[in-house]
C-alpha cells in the first residue's frame, strides 16, 4: 500500500463509520437521526441524501488528489533532484476543461439538487396549521417558563404535548438570547428579547424527548435543559385537566407544615403555586412540581434527597443560578420537601 492510499482510506472509512455508527449511537442520545416528528424526519432524510452525495464527492475528489500525487511521485526536494520545470501552454485546453468540469459543472449540479431540497423541505416544515395547540415558552436564566394560554396552566422545564396535533411554541425571552432545541422533534429556534418567534412542529410518537438551550446564554448555558413529553391525546387532556381544576390543598399534616414553611420563608418571594397566595414569577412555577422528572432544568432527577440538597444550597449544584441558599431546620426542610413532592 502506498503512503498516498493510506491517507484517504481512513477518511473514507470514517464516513462508513458515521453511516453505521450514527443510528446505533442514537439509542441513549437525543440524536437528530432518531426522529419522532415530521420536521426531524424531513431533516434526517435531507441528511441521508447529502451524506450519499458527500461520500461520493469525497471519495472521487480525494481519489483524484491521491492519483495525481502518486503519478510520478518523488521524495527528494526539487533543488536536489534538479527536475526541470514542465512549462504550461501545451495543454491549456484540457486543463480548462478539467477545471470547468470539476470546479463548476459538477458543483452546480450538486448544489442545484441541494437548492431544490432546501426549498421543498423548508416549505413543508414550520407551517401554520388549523387546530394548533399554543404553548408559550419563555426562556429564563437558566430555565424555561411554560404556559398553556387556552387553559391557564403554568409549569416549567417540562412541556407536555399531544401526539399528532400541530404545536405552536410561542417563544420569547425577557433577558438574553437563548435557543430552543429538541433534536428528535425539530431544529432550533432562538428566543430573542424584544421579539416573538413561533416554532411549529409535531410529535409523531409518544415519548420523552430531551430539549436543550443551544445558544450560549451565560454561566449556566450547559444546565438549561428541558423535556418534551408527548402523550396520547387522551392522556394529554387528562394531564391538562388535572392542572386546571381547583386543586385540593395540603392533604396531610406534614404537607400543611411544608406549605407554611414555603409561605414563611423566601420561597414564595420568587415561586408561584396554583391556588395559594404564592404568585411570584421570578422563579419557576411549582404548581405540579411533584410530578416533574427533573430539578434545576434537567440537572438532577427529582428525588426527595436531591430536592433537599437543592433547597439547602443549589449554588453548589448549579453555580450562579438565581436561587439563594435557604437555611432551614431539618424538620422544616423535611416538611417543605414533602409539601413540594405532594404537588402533582
Amino acid at each position: 500500500m502506498t503512503p498516498g492510499r493510506r491517507r484517504w482510506l481512513p477518511a473514507a472509512g470514517a464516513f462508513v463509520l458515521v453511516a453505521v455508527a450514527l443510528p446505533a449511537c442514537g439509542k441513549d442520545s437525543p440524536s437528530i437521526l432518531d426522529h419522532h416528528g415530521p420536521e426531524a424526519r424531513h431533516v434526517a432524510g435531507v441528511w441521508w441524501l447529502m451524506f450519499g452525495l458527500a461520500a461520493a464527492v469525497y471519495v472521487v475528489v480525494a481519489g483524484l488528489v491521491v492519483i495525481a500525487i502518486v503519478r510520478g511521485r518523488r521524495t527528494s526536494t526539487p533543488a536536489e533532484d534538479g527536475a526541470a520545470v514542465v512549462r504550461a501552454g501545451t495543454d491549456r485546453r484540457s486543463e480548462s476543461a478539467f477545471i470547468w468540469a470539476g470546479g463548476i459543472v459538477a458543483p452546480v449540479v450538486i448544489l442545484a439538487i441541494l437548492a431544490v431540497v432546501t426549498v421543498t423541505t423548508t416549505r413543508d416544515v414550520r407551517r401554520a396549521q388549523d387546530g394548533e395547540l399554543q404553548v408559550e415558552v419563555t426562556a429564563k436564566r437558566w430555565w424555561w417558563d411554560v404556559r398553556y394560554p387556552e387553559s391557564g396552566v403554568a409549569t416549567a422545564d417540562e412541556i407536555h404535548i399531544p401526539v399528532g396535533r400541530p404545536i405552536d411554541v410561542v417563544l420569547r425571552s425577557d433577558n438574553v438570547v437563548h435557543s430552543f432545541w429538541v433534536p428528535q422533534l425539530a431544529g432550533k429556534l432562538d428566543a430573542v428579547p424584544g421579539q416573538t418567534n413561533h416554532l411549529r412542529f409535531q410529535a409523531s410518537t409518544p415519548g420523552t424527548y430531551l430539549g436543550e438551550c443551544a445558544e450560549y446564554c451565560g454561566l449556566q448555558h450547559a444546565r438549561m435543559g428541558f423535556i418534551v413529553i408527548a402523550d396520547a391525546p387522551a392522556d394529554f387532556d387528562r394531564w391538562l385537566a388535572r392542572r386546571s381544576g381547583a386543586g385540593t390543598g395540603p392533604t396531610s399534616e406534614a404537607t400543611a407544615e411544608g406549605q407554611l414553611v414555603f409561605m414563611r420563608e423566601a420561597c414564595a418571594g420568587c415561586h408561584a403555586i396554583r391556588n395559594t397566595q404564592a404568585t411570584a414569577t421570578l422563579g419557576p412555577d411549582l404548581s405540579d412540581f411533584g410530578s416533574r422528572q427533573w430539578i434545576g432544568s434537567v440537572t438532577l432527577p427529582n428525588t426527595r434527597g436531591n430536592l433537599a440538597g437543592w433547597i439547602s444550597n443549589s449554588q453548589t449544584i448549579k453555580p450562579g443560578n438565581l436561587m439563594p441558599p435557604i437555611s432551614l431546620e431539618p424538620d422544616e426542610l423535611d416538611a417543605l420537601v414533602a409539601y413540594l413532592e405532594s404537588l402533582k
Binding site: L64, E95, L189, A214
Partner: protein, 635 residues
C-alpha cells in the same frame, strides 16, 4: 555571493538601509521583514496560548460532570480561545507573511507606508497584551467570541470582563485596517517593472483580496464592538430592547464582518497553497487566471452570506432562502481552485516534501470542511446542527485545518528564506503526520457528537447521553495534535542554530523572493528585477535586473542612483516607473502613537479620564509630528 557583488553600486545600499543597532533599532525599525517576522513570532505565541486553553477545556470535557474547571473559568477560556485564534493568531499571522513576502514577491524594497506598517504591528501587540491583561486581574471575557448582547450588556455582565474584549476588538481591528491599506497601495504602486496584474504571484492576489475584504468588513465588527462599548461604558441603548435597541442588529453587524472574516483567513491560506503546490509539482499552476478570478469572486460573494449564521433567529423564510442559496453558490469558486490544484499535480511530478505534505493534508481536510460547509447552508439542516458540535467540527476543519495547515506548510516553505536555514525534513514529516492524525481524531468525532445532540459551548454534560466515549477520543486527539505542533516548534528552534544553510533558492521556486539572498539584505534588491513572466525565476534565466536611468522616474531602479532609502513607484496597471518612494528612516513615532492609543483604551477600560486624556494626547502629538513630515519634505 551577495547581490552587491553582482551589480555595480553607486552608493552603499547596505549602509543606507541599515537599522540602528541594538535596542533603539528594535523599537524604531520600519523594515518590513523585521516587522513581518515579529507578526509571525507574536501570533505564534498567541497560537500556543490558545492551544493550551483548548487543552484545559478538553480536560474539563473529557468526562461528564467533571469538576476540573468551574463554569465561569470554562466560559472564560472558551471565549479567549476563540478570540485569540481569530483576532490574535489567524489574522495577524497571515498579515505577517504578507508583510514579509509581498515586497519581496513584487520586487520592491519595502512597503508603501513603512511607518504605518510598524504602527500596525505595535497596535496588534499592544491589543493582544490589552486583552490578556484580563488574566492578571482574573476577569477574562466570558461572553463567547461573538459576544451577543444583551448577555454581554451591562445588565447581565456587570464586570469589567467584556470591556477587555470589546475595547480589544476595536483596537486590534485598527491594526488590520491599517495593514490592509498598506497592502493595497503596495500591491498597486510598488510592483517591479513588467509585473502586470496577471503576473503577480497568487499569494499576492490572495493578500490583495484579503485586504479589500478587510477594508469593507472590519468596520462592521469595529462598530459592533464599539457600539457595544458605548452601551456598556456610556449607557447608550443600541442593543437594549426595552429602549428601542435591537439584539439582532448586533448579530447582523457582527456577522457582516464575521463571515467575510472566515474567507479573509481562508483566501491567503489558499494563496499559500497555490504557491506551494506548483513548486513541488514542478510546473506552473494550472488555470492561473481561474484561480485569481476565484479569489476575487469569493471576496465578493462572501459579503452576501452572513445571514446563514442567523438562520435560527426567526427571520422571514424568503430572506433565509436567498442567503441559503448564496451560501451554496460560494462553494463554486472554491471548487474551481480545488480542481486547479489537482490539475497542477496531475500534470506534474509531485515532490512530497514537508511543505507539500501540509498542502496535501490541507486538501483532504478542506475537502471535508467544504462539504460540511455546503451542508450547513441547507436551511432546514442548519436548524438542526447550528450551535451544536457539528458546527464546531465544521469550522475547525475550515479555520484550523484549512488555515493552520497551510500556515504550517508556509513555515516549512518560507522559513528558509526568512532565517537562511532549512528546517529538518525528518522532523517536519513527523510533525505533519502527528498533526494530521491528531487533527482528525480530535475534530472528526465532533461531527457525530453534534448529531447526537451535544450543544456547543457547554461546560459540562450529563452522564448517559451516549457522548462519553467520543469525548474521550476528542480529548486524546487534541493531545496528539498539540504534540504535532510542538514538534514543529522544536524543529524551528533547532534549525535556527543548526539548520543546513538554505542558499538563495532551495526549492528551485518561481517567484522573486527566491532571487535574493536568504535572509534577504535590508534593501531586498540592489537592482529591481525586470519581470516578463508569472514565473520569472523559471522563465527568465538569467533574471534581468534594471539599472538606474538618468531621469528622475527611473533613477531608483538600480543601485547606482541611490542617494537615500528609495524604492521605485510604478503606475498601477502597466508598471511604468513614475518616480521614487522615499522610505523613512528609523522612527519611534509609530510606537509612540500606538502606546498613546493603548493608554487611551486603558483609560476607557478603567474609567479613568486622566489616563485616557494622557494617552490621547500622546497619540495626537505623535500623529501630528508624523504627518507634518509628509513627502514634500522627504522627496
Amino acid at each position: 555571493m551577495t547581490l552587491l557583488d553582482r551589480v555595480p553600486t553607486g552608493k552603499d545600499l547596505a549602509t543606507l538601509w541599515e537599522d540602528a543597532p541594538g535596542i533603539p533599532g528594535f523599537f524604531s525599525s520600519v523594515d518590513h521583514k523585521r516587522i513581518g517576522m515579529r507578526y509571525i513570532y507574536t501570533s505564534f505565541v498567541f497560537f500556543f496560548v490558545a492551544g493550551l486553553t483548548a487543552l484545559v477545556m478538553r480536560a474539563q470535557l473529557t468526562t461528564p460532570e467533571s469538576g476540573v474547571l468551574g463554569p465561569q473559568l470554562y466560559n472564560e477560556l472558551m471565549t479567549m480561545h476563540g478570540t485569540t485564534m481569530i483576532f490574535l493568531f489567524n489574522t495577524p499571522v497571515l498579515a505577517g507573511f504578507g508583510n514579509y513576502l509581498i515586497p519581496l514577491q513584487l520586487g520592491t524594497r519595502d512597503m508603501a507606508f513603512p511607518r504605518m506598517n510598524a504602527f500596525s504591528y505595535w497596535i496588534f501587540l499592544l491589543g493582544g497584551i490589552f486583552m490578556y491583561l484580563s488574566f492578571f486581574v482574573g476577569k477574562m471575557p466570558d461572553g463567547g467570541w461573538f459576544a451577543y448582547p444583551p448577555m454581554v450588556s451591562k445588565a447581565y455582565s456587570p464586570g469589567i470582563n467584556m470591556d477587555f474584549w470589546g475595547l480589544g476588538v476595536v483596537f486590534v481591528g485598527l491594526s488590520t485596517t491599517v495593514g490592509s491599506i498598506n497592502f493595497i497601495v503596495t500591491i498597486f504602486k510598488l510592483r517591479a517593472p513588467g509585473m502586470s496584474l496577471h503576473r503577480m504571484p497568487i499569494f499576492v492576489w490572495s493578500m490583495l483580496v484579503f485586504s479589500f475584504m478587510a477594508i469593507f468588513a472590519v468596520p462592521a465588527v469595529t462598530l459592533a464592538a464599539g457600539l457595544l462599548e458605548l452601551d456598556r461604558l456610556f449607557g447608550t441603548s443600541f442593543f437594549v430592547p426595552a429602549l428601542g435597541g435591537s439584539a439582532l442588529l448586533y448579530q447582523h453587524l457582527f456577522w457582516f464582518w464575521g463571515h467575510p472574516e472566515v474567507y479573509i483567513l481562508f483566501v491567503p491560506a489558499t494563496g499559500m497553497i497555490s504557491q506551494i503546490i506548483p513548486v513541488f509539482s514542478r510546473r506552473p499552476l494550472a488555470g492561473y487566471l481561474w484561480v485569481a478570478a476565484s479569489l476575487v469572486t469569493i471576496g465578493f460573494i462572501s459579503f452576501g452570506v452572513w445571514v446563514h449564521h442567523m438562520f435560527a433567529t426567526g427571520l422571514p423564510p424568503l430572506a433565509m432562502a436567498f442567503f441559503s442559496a448564496v451560501s451554496l453558490i460560494i462553494a463554486i469558486p472554491s471548487g474551481v481552485q480545488f480542481f486547479a490544484w489537482i490539475a497542477t499535480m496531475w500534470k506534474g511530478t509531485v515532490r512530497l516534501t514537508t511543505p507539500m505534505l501540509f498542502a496535501v493534508g490541507f486538501l483532504l481536510i478542506f475537502l471535508l470542511g467544504g462539504i460540511t460547509g455546503v451542508m450547513v447552508a441547507v436551511l432546514p439542516f442548519d436548524w438542526q446542527v447550528t450551535d451544536s458540535y457539528f458546527v464546531v467540527a465544521h469550522f475547525h476543519y475550515v479555520l484550523n485545518g484549512a488555515v493552520v495547515f497551510p500556515i504550517f506548510g508556509a513555515i516549512y516553505y518560507w522559513m528558509p528564506k526568512m532565517t537562511g536555514r532549512m528546517l529538518s525534513e525528518r522532523l517536519g514529516r513527523l510533525s505533519f503526520w502527528v498533526m494530521f492524525v491528531g487533527f482528525n481524531v480530535t475534530f472528526f468525532p465532533m461531527h457525530i457528537l453534534g448529531f447526537l445532540g451535544m450543544p456547543r459551548r457547554v461546560y459540562t454534560y450529563r452522564d448517559g447521553l451516549g457522548w462519553e466515549g467520543l469525548n474521550v477520543m476528542v480529548s486524546l486527539g487534541s493531545l496528539v495534535f498539540a504534540l504535532g505542533t510542538g514538534i514543529t516548534l522544536v524543529n524551528f528552534l533547532i534549525s535556527r542554530r543548526r539548520g543546513r544553510p538554505a542558499g538563495d533558492d532551495p526549492w528551485d521556486a518561481d517567484s522573486l523572493e527566491w532571487s535574493t539572498t536568504s535572509p534577504p539584505p535590508d534593501y531586498n534588491f540592489a537592482s529591481v528585477p525586470v519581470v516578463a513572466s508569472a514565473h520569472p525565476l523559471w522563465d527568465q534565466k538569467p533574471l534581468p535586473y534594471a539599472s538606474s536611468g538618468s531621469d528622475e522616474e527611473t533613477r531608483g531602479l538600480g543601485p547606482e542612483g541611490a542617494v537615500e532609502r528609495e524604492t521605485p513607484i510604478t503606475s498601477g496597471i502597466d508598471t511604468a516607473p513614475e518616480g521614487n518612494l522615499t522610505i523613512p528612516e528609523d522612527t519611534y513615532l509609530p510606537l509612540m502613537v500606538a502606546v498613546g492609543l493603548a493608554v487611551f483604551f486603558l483609560g476607557l477600560l478603567v474609567n479613568a479620564a486622566a489616563v485616557g486624556v494622557t494617552g490621547a494626547a500622546l497619540a495626537v502629538v505623535g500623529a501630528v509630528w508624523w504627518t507634518w513630515r509628509t513627502e514634500e519634505d522627504l522627496a
